[in-house]
Point group: C2
């Protein structure tokens, strides 16, 4: 079971911008960037909306080529497609993430960090 993703060369600038032009999705991307390297599953984003609604927004991000989703058991592990985005649109992702980082108006995800046993 694998989910459909566009190839790097199919990623479209207007579609990426339109997809990022939604506060929920921008918050998802900001959070992914803040945990870059760590694959996160969908339930990590439940602060931002209902399960159904997140499924919708995460699908938009994936279909636009902004994120990658890997199916592992019953989970989808979500990561930013930084390499492909940087290759296609140099500097874009970094400037968006930096700007989003300053944005108090964006919804945030609570600090439910997984505690490591001592």
């Amino acid at each position: 079971m694998t989910l459909p993703h566009p190839n790097a060369d199919q990623i479209s600038l207007p579609i990426v911008l339109a997809v990022l032009g939604d506060p929920t999705r921008l918050a998802i991307v900001r959070y992914l960037a803040s945990k870059e390297g760590v694959p996160l599953n969908c339930s990590r984003f439940l602060d931002l909306g209902s399960k159904t609604n997140l499924s919708y927004h995460l699908a938009k991000l994936r279909e636009a080529g902004v994120t990658r989703a890997e199916v592992v058991g019953t989970s989808r592990l979500i990561t930013l497609r930084r390499d492909d985005l940087d290759a296609r649109f140099p500097g874009l992702l970094d400037s968006v993430i930096a700007a989003a980082g300053e944005d108090k108006a964006l919804p945030a995800i609570g600090g439910h960090d997984v505690e490591m046993p001592a």
Copy 2:
């Protein structure tokens, strides 16, 4: 007669991204960037849509803080708000313009350059 523009600090990242996430508006911004310094009037963009439709898209760009429109006679002279955008979202406009410059799928504006008399 002056048109309403947001202050620099009112410019919102998701709104700017959403506004740029439209091929017509992205083409307008690309063209403005290619003629930076030169104020252009609305009729310069007629290749991209009807007069009414351009009025709509140009208002979106202005209300988002992406462009500035100055009323001069019966014309509106449109410019990019580069200074404000760069201050608020460093690097964003440049990366969008660079990416849009490569994009064959975006609508283009014909080379009807005003000919200088010899």
